[in-house]
Symmetry: C2
Subunit: 372 residues, 2 copies
Amino acid sequence: MPDSIRVTYVVQAPADRIAERAEALMLEQAVELPRAIAARDPWVAEHMIGAVEDVRPAGRDLHRVTIAHPIATAGGDPAQLLNLLFGNASLQPEVVLDDVVLPPSAFDWLPGPRAGIAGLRELAGVAGRPLLATALKPMGLRPARLAALAGTFARAGLDLIKDDHGLADHAFCPFEARVEACLRAIDDAERETGRRALYVPNLIGAPDRVMRQLAFAREAGARVAMVSPMVTGLPFLCQLAALPDGLPLMAHPAFGGVLRAAPPVLLGKLFRWFGADAVIFPHVGGRFSYDADTCRAIAEALRAEHARIRPSLPAPAGGIRVERMGELLDFYGPDCVLLVGGSLYAADDGLFERTRALVERVTRAAAAEPVS
Amino acid sequence: MPDSIRVTYVVQAPADRIAERAEALMLEQAVELPRAIAARDPWVAEHMIGAVEDVRPAGRDLHRVTIAHPIATAGGDPAQLLNLLFGNASLQPEVVLDDVVLPPSAFDWLPGPRAGIAGLRELAGVAGRPLLATALKPMGLRPARLAALAGTFARAGLDLIKDDHGLADHAFCPFEARVEACLRAIDDAERETGRRALYVPNLIGAPDRVMRQLAFAREAGARVAMVSPMVTGLPFLCQLAALPDGLPLMAHPAFGGVLRAAPPVLLGKLFRWFGADAVIFPHVGGRFSYDADTCRAIAEALRAEHARIRPSLPAPAGGIRVERMGELLDFYGPDCVLLVGGSLYAADDGLFERTRALVERVTRAAAAEPVS
C-alpha cells in the first residue's frame, strides 16, 4: 500500500502470540471489529483494513510491530489521525507508540509550522546562532512587575521572552493587561537598544478563550505566541496553525506525560506536523529525565528535511543552568532555542548583568565557530 | 488552607529524599522556581505557594504525597487546572497523578454534566435499569448501511446507538449525511415500535469543525452526542458542556492512555467535572486491562454525590460479550450504560434477534430485582 500511514509500536507479547496480537492491534485501531465481521463488506475489507507489515524482536517478550493503514482511514482529520495512531491502543499498557511515518498526501490537511526555523529567525533577526529565550515568572507577579522583567531581559539582548506556561488569565494578572504591559516594555527597550526582542504570550484556556487571546495578542503587536497542545488539544494546534490571521507558535510540553509514547513521536513529529514552529522539551540533566538519545531524536525529528512542511526549532529547557550553555551549543548546534529560566533569576539584582553575560557568551561562541 | 486544590501523587523516591522531592514537585507545578527565588515577593509567598500537606509510604521507595495549592493559582480556567495538576509533572516518570479533590468554588467555572444521570434517563425514557447501548461500525460503511444498522438496533429496543469513535467526517461517509440518515432510521423505528432510541453522533476534529458538527447534529434532531476529550482537548469539553445550545455528551477515552494518571482521576473525576454526562471505559476482562478495582473506582467517582454538579453514567465497554450481562448488572447496578459492540455484530443476519434477546434479558433482570 503506497499511500499508507505507517505506525510502529513496541508490543509486549511472547513470540508465539505476537502475530495474533499485531493483527488485533491493527483491527482495534481502525475497524474495531474482528476481521471476519469487518470484512463481510468487501469495500471495507479492501479499503479500510490495513496490514501488519513488519514484526521484529525488540527485547524479552517485546516486538516492534509496524502496521500500515490506508490514508483514507484518517479522513483528512488530525483528530481522527490521533485515534488511528493511539486512540484505543493508548489504553493497552502492553503497547507503546514508537514511530509514525505519514505519506505526503497527509500534509494536504496537516499544516506544519507557519514560520518554521527561517521564519522565526527572520522575526527575531538572528542568524548563525541559537535563539536565546527565557520565561517570565513566577505566577503571582502583577503585569507591571512581569513587564519590568521583560524590559530587563530585552535590554540585555534576549531574543524571545515568553510567559511561563502557568501564566493564565488570573484575576491578579489578566491576560490583556499583561500582554499590553510586556509589549510596551519591549518597545521601550527597543528605543533604547535599537534591537527588538519578541514577547511570547501564553495562550491558555478552552478554544473560545484561546481564540480571543490570540486575536488580542496579535492586534496588540505580539509576533509569536505559546500554547500547550496537550493541555488545549492537539487538533486545536492544527486549527491555530492554519488560521489566516494566526501567529507562529511555540509549543510547551505540559500534560504530555508520555509513559507509553516515545517522546520523539509526540514532541518531535506530531507537534511539528500539527503546526508548532518551536517545541520546548526537557533537556537531559535538568529537572526532568529525558536521556541524550531522546533529546537528539526530538531535535532531529523537528529539523528533518521534509518535502511538504517547514522545520521547527527544538527548544531544550527544564532547569538548564547558564553554566551549561557551551555543552548545549555543542549538542544542538545553532538551529535551536536555548531556554534558560530559573538559572537567570538566581541572580536577583544582577539579572541584567547575568543575562547580558549569557547573550555575549553565546554570541561569541557562535562567531568563533561560524556555521552554515 | 481551606479553599485549596488538593492533589495526590505517588512519587518514587527514597524515604530520606521524599520531603525535598515533594517540595520540588509543589513548586514545579505552580511557581516553577526554587522557593527562595519565588518567595522574594511576599504576595507570591503567601498566595501562590501551596503546602505539602501529607507524605506517607506507599510501597518500596514509593510515597503518596498530597499537595495543597491555593485555588487562585488555577485562575478559574480548566486548562490552567490541568497545568497545575499534571502539566510539568506528567513529564517526570517518577510521578503518577493519583487523586484530586477540589474545593466547591472550583465548580463556579467547571460545568459538570449538562444532563447527568437523571437527564440521560429522561431523554432515553428508561428507569430502574441500565441503559443499553451499541456502536455503529465498522468504519467504511456508507451512511445508508450505518442507518440500516441503527434502525435494526432501535427496533430491537436499544436505548443509545452511538457512532464508533473512529467514524469521522470521511469522504465515503460524511458527517452530515450519516447523521441525517441515522436519525431518519430512528424516526422510522419509532413509528413502528412507539419507542424512540437515541442516536449519538461522534463529534471529532479541531474545535471549529466540532462546533459545526454539534450545531448540525442538534438542528437535525440529535439529543446526545459523543466526543473523545483526550483527542479533542479536555478544556474543549468544558466549552461544549457550558454552551447554551449544546447537547449532553458521552465521552470516549481514546488517546487517554498517554498520561501517567490513575484512570479513576482522569476518566472518573476530570471527565465528569469537565462536563461528560456518561463516560465510556474498558471493563475488566475485555480487550483492555483495567482491573475490577479500577473499574469500580471509576464508576464511584462518576456517580459520587456532589453538592455542585450532577452525577455521570459509567459506560463500561471494550469487548463485553452479551453473555456477560448478568455479571455487569451485578457489578455496576442499574445506574450505568452497558455498551455492547462486536459481540452483537457476531450475529450477522441474526442481529435483530440477538439484540432483542439482550434487551429482554436486561429488562427482565431489572424487573426481578427492582432497585431504588
